[in-house]
Symmetry: D2
Subunit: 363 residues, 4 copies
């Protein structure tokens, strides 16, 4: 049962189906005194919004968020923040064909076996539409973190076979792919255009980085910062892998190569991705996530019906050929939520020793 | 603060330092009626135990576990199971040299900044010695799952640069590496012998598989089965990456290639690793984890002292040159704990539709 | 921080201020397959609604609830249920006088000291208006429990000095006080009329009873059924005491008098209130709660301003002279939420022994 | 399942049966830097210990506690504190007679129906012996709170029909009853002596008070300080009622009488018991709890066997004729645990407004 809440002191609870009346969230534990308006949330929602380029689903959703509570005279009060986004562009009839068929690689089969019933329209609760609310909640966390000088940003580091080198943050917001290399954009566009012609989809890799994080965040053993990040990022639709720092490349590394040496001027490298023993080290937190190719494609595939008989299936409806394209703001949101939660949990400070554990900001 | 409990209905809480008096755990939520004795736990503890080959630390720990509660007349009673392992081979004097110095890539630096004080002997709480209790707790979960026909097993799939193909389960328990290819063992031994001569360490990749898992386990959105597995596996010391199914390989896959088609006879492939939409599909659950090379090596490295001054550091003490070698039972334990927790949480059953949601066994 | 979620497997998260745009709730963990429409929730909301008699606040709120998610084709799907009630009759200007003054016995003082800012209009988050969402969520739990033959009902057992004997359930819904003795209603009305003339308020005692609860609910030690009930009922605004069974009367009882003897035909008494060792016994669960007199009264009282200076205060606005009058549906809701949560948590069943532990219903 | 953990940031997990090998606890979230030795815990354990006067059970338990982890060089490190108490005086043969019979008013019946099996020796997990670990954990919380100037103390306020007025703290520790009126002690002793001759037991009322608590502790709505206190205190064995402040007396109060007026010099009364809107006000926190008479008495009572047949039962073994006599340290422990947990959770501070929210001490 219940699994729609994330976090311990800064908690985000979401509800809502792809084709139901609305998405709703309750963000609990935001400290009081933070200036907040719906415009603060809208910026990131617009970055995630479908239909902004030809490379994403053509579903048109305004994704206008309303703040229902927790803000008074323009500032948070410390009480829970209710958020509402009405669904406006549901075309449910697109989905009647798949009412009795399980789309391959989709959650149809597992929701059916778990719950017995399912809202088959657009994937219902399993749709990535749900992530809009994560982005809205994450925007609150990001704004709070920014007050502390903590900045959470992401970019696409690979699209299908095309690896994208990090050339700088400037271009990331200036193309539909969140590509950090402006010279790669034309190649990405050509690849996507061909993909649509092939009636196929493709995976992507996203990198998220938090800078300005103070040392000391993370609660060993099980609530380590990296473990909570892995949890948060793997909970995003279509994610199949999570790495911290060099990740799987550490398998082939030797200790002399991997270890980040320290000097009085700071660390000499960041293979660890900013986390040692589950606790932030003060270096940038670096995470990578792998998103699988969308399962909703128009190339027919073999499947079965609810009655167990064989059935070819074509997924109609409006879908993203690469869900990774819109995933950057979602990954940022989840990292920001984890960081704020751990910031609020961090009370390890011991005044006998002078340590730079974070202190809540004077908003 | 508090972060030493894992799970929601089947919970494991651990305590204990590397060189303190004892390790202790409380396993809460084990259903009643399960036959259980310390011998059931000892088997897996012995698989993880140090000192069983020349390729692991030479610390000698009997790791004898005592069951303090929760078992009556040979069966669990449903009340919490207390577990105790006394530390017996602590050589704390080995560590006085690093009392004031942060070992590179170790948790010394972050524990110091978080807590102000730290038990520097052998890493204290950040030592992998803590995982003995995970293995003991996991053995309880594995025994319970076995009653349901669920088998959780792991093996080493890569050691440094050496990839190890899966040739079958038979050889896994018959070599010190948990290698599923008996013909690779000589190569692994030679590699490790050279590594020790080089005074270096190396990473490894472990694969864990659960077979017999019924469909329906996992609670979307945030308590998805894959998200909880990522959390559990990333919480193991030295882990820097987690994959479900094909993991990062899905980035370069196309949808037509990735999607696991269904036929009346079953799925045709398992790129998903047994989880769709965060819920188990009935296929084997497959996870991979990357373990970084041990940070405790005798090749000197640059570091700083508590007072911030530069200081070369050599880690003495007895350490594993590849922590991955002993990690297989730990990974199995964490996967088993997650699966039993979700099995107990799964109440999605709807009797109107005939679904094969698991039912608790008649022990 | 975050404290607006109740429950472990059946969880209720609420948000919303007295004079904000709306109240919102997310009910997570309701099993799939339950027939549910907003009319099911409206019935209990109407029982709690203000303005239905001259003895409650004259604020007029339609309290119309909208189901935003989690229900498809008239049945729950197992996904979280979003609920929305728009506030319609906020008269915020009534409150400007108390913007800088702490009303005695009200949460003004403590919210100010905790958060630094507060939504002073109508008590903001500390207003009993928040309980509307508990009633809506509780109505879902009550409907589910009813399928199992579990009925949760409450009544007023004392109003100020007037004790009300239980004469039967029939009259409870037929008077504004939820009095189980129809012959007492005239006396209650006269008392309330005099109270209003006195510009004063009064306390009340509510009794809630659950019948049909199977034995076995409750998770010792800390998550005992009685402890969770005490938590739930004490969390209702204005509650200052909670009793299970004979409660404080047990202090003066002897063991021979208190113990509920068993015969093959059943228990001979129910001093325990249906709970032994924290676990339900199969007898009716009986709880009593004490509600203090409303702090919002028009008789002036001594208080201080935010700057610490002395200030007389009169609470204008529209208030209940006895909050206990509308508390019966709230108490029922909280008991129902606790019971459903524990029903879903209860997996203690051991098939070797034939026990009557509850099984989820065939909806 | 799992219900043996209490708290959110300062958490206490316990295990252990009355007649098993040992009691064990893990206290997680204690801030680092607190001086701590087993002697600190032993003081309160000795206050709770059985066999210290003729008015409690004659079971002889040294209740010697060993600290297994979390303390290094005499100070807490921030890592979890493992605690162990070996059972030494188990006389299990006393209990064979009740192996197949449910003692009236005892948890035998409900444990059997929940779990199917039970450790019948001395009540197993349902025995009040479990509270020894609460006292040990509470002693840690009390020591930390004392650093902040917060003092948690309790006394017996009623024994059976004998009400005991509060005359001062001095005498409380100087008699076996924790009576705050030294002149009542002779009457209490005479009452208890007669009770033993009657082969009967009796209830008691305990009052616990925390002084020096800063305003601002408590997280509305559901994690209110009073709700968490009610939860904690109701979870103590034999407790049937909990009151905050005037408690049930508030039912008959009028608002003009109940409300605690404020002046620049402070509150004029404390009917609220130090909590308004679920948040501490800075006044003393006052709670009362009702403990039922022990169910274990030697006067025969009607009961049934496991097979459902009628059976008279006499409880042999060694029991307290009034469990309330030893309950004062337990109640103190639970209140201290709740207060420290909420102190660590309290991050509501807003620097724009000068508020006296607590700050962690410089240990």
């Amino acid at each position: 049962m219940s699994g729609n809440t994330f976090g311990k002191l800064f908690t985000v609870t979401t509800a809502g189906e792809s084709h139901g009346p609305a998405l709703v969230a309750i963000v609990d534990g935001c400290p009081p005194g933070l200036e907040l308006s719906s415009a603060d949330l809208q910026r990131d929602l617009d970055r995630r919004k479908p239909g902004t380029s030809r490379h994403t689903t053509q579903r048109q959703e305004a994704d206008e968020v309303e703040i229902l509570s927790g803000v008074f005279e323009g500032r948070t009060t410390g009480t829970p923040i209710g958020l509402l986004i009405r669904n406006t562009d549901q075309k449910s009839k697109d989905y009647s064909a798949i009412k009795h068929v399980f789309r391959p690689a989709h959650a149809d089969y597992t929701y059916h076996h778990k719950y017995g019933v399912r809202d088959y329209r657009g994937g219902g609760r399993s749709s990535a539409r749900e992530t809009a609310m994560r982005v809205a909640a994450g925007a609150i966390a990001k704004k709070y973190l920014a007050k502390l000088g903590i900045q959470v940003r992401g970019y696409m580091s690979q699209l299908g076979p095309i690896e994208i080198a990090f050339k700088g943050w400037d271009s990331v917001e200036q193309n539909a792919f969140f590509s950090p290399d402006p010279e790669k954009v034309a190649e990405l566009e050509a690849y996507m255009d061909q993909l649509r012609r092939d009636q196929d989809s493709v995976g992507a890799k996203i990198t998220v980085i938090a800078e300005g994080v103070p040392p000391g965040l993370g609660e060993p053993i099980f609530d380590r910062l990296d473990a909570d990040l892995a949890h948060a990022l793997m909970s995003i639709n279509a994610v199949k892998g999570v790495e911290i720092g060099v990740g799987f490349a550490s398998v082939a590394q030797r200790g002399t190569e991997h270890r980040d040496e320290l000097t009085p001027e700071g660390f000499l490298s960041n293979n660890a991705g900013g986390i040692l023993g589950g606790i932030s080290s003060g270096q940038p937190i670096v995470a990578h996530l792998a998103l699988k190719p969308t399962s909703s494609i128009t190339t027919p595939g073999r499947s079965i019906s609810i009655d167990g008989s064989a059935s070819d299936v074509i997924t109609k409806g409006r879908h993203d050929p690469c869900v990774g394209i819109r995933a950057t703001p979602i990954a940022e949101a989840m990292m920001a939520i984890v960081l704020l939660d751990h910031l609020l949990r961090n009370r390890g400070q011991n005044a006998d020793v002078q340590v730079d554990t974070p202190v809540l900001p004077q908003l």
